[in-house]
Amino acid sequence: MAKTQNDGLLKAPGPSPLGPGFSLGFALMAPAQLTLLAVVLLPSLMILWLGVTAWQPTAGIPWYKAEFIWFWNFYDLYFDSRFTSAVLRTLLFVAVCVLSELLIALCLAVLFLDEWPWRKLAVSVIILPMMIVPVDAANAFFMLFSARGPINYIIAEVLGREFAYAWLADPQWALLPIMLAEIWQWTPLMFLLMLAGLMNLPENQVRAAVALGASPSRIFVKIMLPLLSPVILIALIIRSIETFKIFDPVYILTRGGPGSATESISMFMYNGAFVFFRIGYIAAAALLVLVLVVSICLPLARVLRR
């Protein structure tokens, strides 16, 4: 009852000092909306035009006078194996990285359910990777995976023979260091999410199962995991969205090379726009990506509403 009264109170703000028609709600919202309008909406509208042109800034023609070429950019993109494999590779990044992160994090979080003296310290050390600037993390992995670097040294010691493999120069395996850098950096976030989820589980059901003598593994699979699934879902969605944009480690470790063997969507678009200067073509790709992201992610985001 009290709530309804106050609702009514707040919704009748009385005469505004700035005259009628002035709404405090909209005024407070305005600065944020205007910023988004300038930085996100206007450029997005610009892609609509650039995407149907063959604009190259190097040709010396201003963008608004660019040659109109109908939908040929999209036609070319469809048959551009560099673009399609960048899309598939990005999806591979998302699948491998996010699932590995989840699996490692879940196993690790289970070990943190009870209390012990240096538990806090352990958490602090384990979440260190997510505190690092991503470019610096990639930099560290760049050094670790150099042909004569520490990783190869350890492998050589284990194998007992010479091992000087140039990870980042091999089109087949250059993806691995990039994925490892990404997994290393973001497993801690997943870990914190899982830990928070596990600690907030309703105790009653688990208690009951314990009292009835169920085995720990059964309790975990049959009771804790289903209760945890909303948190797992949120974690998967958020990490998938972020990993889909993957750029920093790719740029630092390989710049999409050798050739285009490690190009993610972002890296493909960066190379196209800032190395080959094919702005019109890349704008068309951007448009496709925008449509893809909005159509896939928006329904997913509704889950975040709780």
């Binding site: 106050n6 930085v39 892609i47 352990a122 560290a140 949120i234 975040l304």
Partner: protein, 301 residues
């Protein structure tokens, strides 16, 4: 959760095994950072030596001097036959100053605009559910998709390679975090408090400033630190919207790292260590709120 004691078992062997796994995880988490730190103190001849040197017996500050002192960088480049000249030429001071200016300004605008918008969303229901998702969509867009037209737009407006341009870009792309994070803090404040203040004659705006804002001060501060971390770590905008006039720390790091030419491991590591230090400090300061921030307030802990 006391009952989990019975769940995870009391057998000493199982406990030792579990602690070992935890220690192994701690080691893996720390290893790359250890390598970065250790390399930053290595003299030139140990940078790429094989077998690798784990901890240098002859630690030096030379790498840090190359990063920060133009003279040390010049004499180093000269000693290396000038081939590395273009990479170590500029000192990193400029990058730190630029990053500080841009990150601070963008954080300020992002948090102020974000707080106002969040308040408007929670108390006035401006735009309904739609508003919140509009901000979230911004976070989903790969920034590169917007960067391409932005470069064209900025060159018309004379904003490319300026502080204003980067601050604008950073503000917009951290707004979703500010809005969602502050929103989750405002939602924790009972509306009745403002109602009570307004009965005593305050306007809604006064009630917001004098009652709600002090209550969520800690949350807003955490949001600010969080957004600052994001701004400081940002790479793509800094790379594409500048052309030498402005350098952020992340661009400076990338300048030292290059797969194709000479390896500057020591210098890279020194720059990496210094540039990531403020972020680590801030990160631990807001450790409690990190999860809330990175999940847009959907997991509150």
């Amino acid at each position: 959760m006391p009952f989990v004691q019975s769940l995870v078992g009391r057998k000493p062997l199982a406990r030792i095994l579990k602690r070992t796994v935890v220690i192994f995880a701690m080691a893996l988490s720390f290893a790359p950072i250890f390598w970065l730190l250790s390399t930053s103190f290595k003299p030139y001849d140990e940078w790429a030596i094989y077998p690798p040197v784990w901890v240098s017996q002859r630690p030096t500050l030379q790498n840090y001097r190359i990063v920060f002192a133009p003279d040390a960088a010049k004499s180093f480049a000269a000693a290396q036959g000038g081939s590395l000249d273009y990479k170590v030429a500029g000192s990193a001071w400029k990058a730190f100053v630029d990053s500080t200016i841009i990150s601070t300004a963008a954080t300020f605008f992002s948090v102020v605009f974000g707080t106002l918008a969040a308040y408007s969303m929670v108390r006035f229901k401006t735009g309904g559910e739609h508003s919140a998702f509009q901000f979230l969509t911004v976070r989903m867009l790969p920034p590169i998709a917007v960067v391409v037209p932005m470069v064209a737009m900025f060159s018309i407006l004379n904003l490319s390679d300026t502080y204003v341009g980067l601050v604008l870009a950073y503000t917009a792309f951290t707004l979703p975090f500010s809005v969602w994070m502050v929103r989750s803090f405002i939602e924790d404040v009972p509306q009745e408090l403002e109602g009570a203040a307004m009965i005593h004659g305050m306007t809604q705006l006064e009630a917001f400033i004098k009652v709600t804002l002090p209550l969520i001060r800690g949350g807003v501060l955490a949001t600010a630190l969080f957004v600052f971390i994001l701004n400081w770590s940002e790479f793509l905008f800094a790379l594409t919207l500048t052309s030498g006039g402005i350098t952020t720390v992340t661009v400076q790091v990338a300048k030292y790292v290059s797969a194709s030419s000479g390896t500057l491991y020591g210098v890279q590591a020194a720059m990496g260590t210094v540039s990531t230090l403020p972020v680590i400090v801030f990160g631990y300061l807001i450790q409690r709120h990190l999860v809330r921030g990175l999940t847009f307030g959907s997991v509150k802990r």
